[in-house]
């Protein structure tokens, strides 16, 4: 499977190109229709699947960028969001993927990744928080869990610990990686993650349009020659921006901060690297 297909999946702040949502959507809908046939995925199980997926994410993106001040900053922003999220009880983990590709990815159970390229593309703390909030929203809404539930329900599991069997666990994770991750999330889940992410941003106190401003700028920067996957294959950025725009009047009484200067201070080391867009 290509790294690109992989990316789509865990869903980038919609920064994913080439997503074929239909099949996955059908898969999810099929699972939902199954109703009583669905087997629940508990927290321990969700975290275990997420860990297995996280290893694949790290491997396919060339490892982690471990620049101490950047890791700390992303974790501070991420933790501030996580404790205000609808699932604050999860053990969230945040890391920077060692690539200049613009993207963000999450895995079930609380694993959240942002690429160094996406960090470079941000201009304010509210924008960084917007990307991370979108990923946290996927986790909080259980978008990947729905897929896992469907895959689990196809397994012959005798009891509540049956998922721990090496064979069963492997089939569920591999099914997730090979099927769901190559086809991406349903489009509705992406819009929902924007909606929930924007609500989390507002709850913490960042400017609710953080994700919107970043998406809008990325879309505007697209050129005919651009080979970036985001610009090349993700057709819905304009629609996402429009939908977020429709949400923002609901937050007009929320005074949000962008914290642009703090972002610049904390990411100063990035500015010294080639290609920084500050």
């Amino acid at each position: 499977m290509s790294a690109r297909g992989f990316v789509v999946v865990l869903c980038t702040a919609g920064l994913l190109p080439g997503c074929e949502f239909v099949n996955v959507h059908q898969l999810v809908e099929g699972g939902l229709r199954a109703g009583a046939m669905q087997l629940p995925v508990g927290p321990e199980e969700e975290i275990a699947y997420g860990g297995a997926v996280a290893v694949q994410v790290v491997a396919r993106y060339g490892g982690l960028d471990k620049t101490p001040e950047l890791v700390e900053y992303v974790n501070l922003v991420g933790e501030a969001l996580a404790i205000h999220s609808p699932r604050p009880e999860l053990p969230y983990h945040f890391a920077i993927l060692n690539t200049d590709e613009v993207n963000a990815v999450s895995a079930p159970g609380g694993y959240v990744f942002i690429t160094r390229g996406a960090l470079k593309a941000c201009r304010t703390e509210a924008e960084l928080a917007g990307i991370l909030a979108h990923e946290i929203a996927h986790i909080a809404a259980g978008h990947a869990v729905k897929i896992l539930q469907n895959l689990k329900s196809k397994q012959a599991i005798a009891d509540s610990t049956g998922w721990k069997s090496t064979a069963v666990f492997g089939q569920i994770v591999d099914g997730f990686l090979d099927d769901y991750m190559t086809k991406g999330l349903p489009q509705d889940d992406e819009f929902e993650a924007d909606r929930i992410g924007t609500a989390i941003l507002a709850r913490v106190g960042w400017a609710p349009d953080g994700l919107r401003t970043l998406l809008s700028r990325l879309a505007a920067g697209r050129t005919a020659e651009s080979k970036d996957r985001f610009y090349g294959t993700h057709p819905d950025t304009g629609a996402r921006v429009s939908r977020i725009d429709a949400l923002l009047p609901g937050y007009k009484d929320k005074d949000g901060v962008t914290l642009e200067l703090r972002f610049r201070d904390r990411t100063a080391s990035l500015a010294k690297r080639v290609g920084h867009v500050h």
């Binding site: 790290v58 471990k66 609808p86």
Partner: protein, 202 residues
């Protein structure tokens, strides 16, 4: 002319939604509420700068006595009384309802079913490590994820970060100087004449 049934249905739904939100707001005032974070503090006053009376546990039930702006006056089961930032409580015990509460309306989905605080559970699950180990040369990626899981920002540092940014419960400490319009620059003026334009004071 007979009323349009579709409009009637929409009106009824809208009224129900508004009604539900009003009921939810009233219910909060009547208590009980539940602590939805491990960062919550019971304070002696209704501001984020008021002294701490006690730390509160995730999921702890509180009884609401009154509401003031962004703070609630609450009482714990063991009789401690004080104020807590509104965003640190939910009207239902931690769980799926958090999503609906955040959005102010019913939302589909809901994630896992656990409500216990699991942040202490750090470390790649043995099933996950075993699966990855069977996939070939993933030793470095496994080590990276373990390092990611071990990384932890101490709670006081997160709190200081929120306070420095006037975020979360510290939003009440904002002044005009810490806020700026999202898109327009902030104009500085003397005697009504603009002398400079600043962007992003904070």
């Amino acid at each position: 002319m007979a009323p349009n049934p579709r409009i009637l249905r929409r009106s009824a739904v809208a009224l129900l939604c508004v009604g539900a939100q009003m009921v939810a707001a009233l219910a909060l005032a009547a208590g009980p509420v539940f602590v939805n974070t491990r960062y919550a503090k019971l304070r002696s006053g209704k501001t984020s700068s008021a002294p701490e009376v006690a730390k509160l546990a995730f999921g702890q039930q509180l009884t609401v006595a009154s509401e003031e702006a962004s703070f609630l006056q609450v009482t714990t089961a063991d009789g401690k009384s004080g104020w807590i930032a509104r965003q640190w409580v939910a009207s239902t015990a931690p769980g799926k309802a958090g999503l609906a509460e955040l959005l102010g309306a019913a939302a589909r989905g809901g994630g896992g079913s656990g409500v216990a605080y699991t942040a202490g559970a750090r470390g790649l699950a043995p099933e996950a490590e075993s699966h990855a180990a069977g996939k070939g040369d993933l030793g470095q990626a496994i080590a990276d994820v373990k390092e990611m899981e071990r990384y932890s920002v101490p709670a006081p540092k997160v709190e200081a970060f929120l306070k420095d940014g006037r975020l979360g419960e510290f939003a009440d400490q904002r002044t005009a100087r810490t806020l700026r319009p999202h898109r327009e620059p902030l104009a500085c003026a003397v005697g009504g004449k603009p002398i400079c334009f600043l962007r992003g004071i904070r």
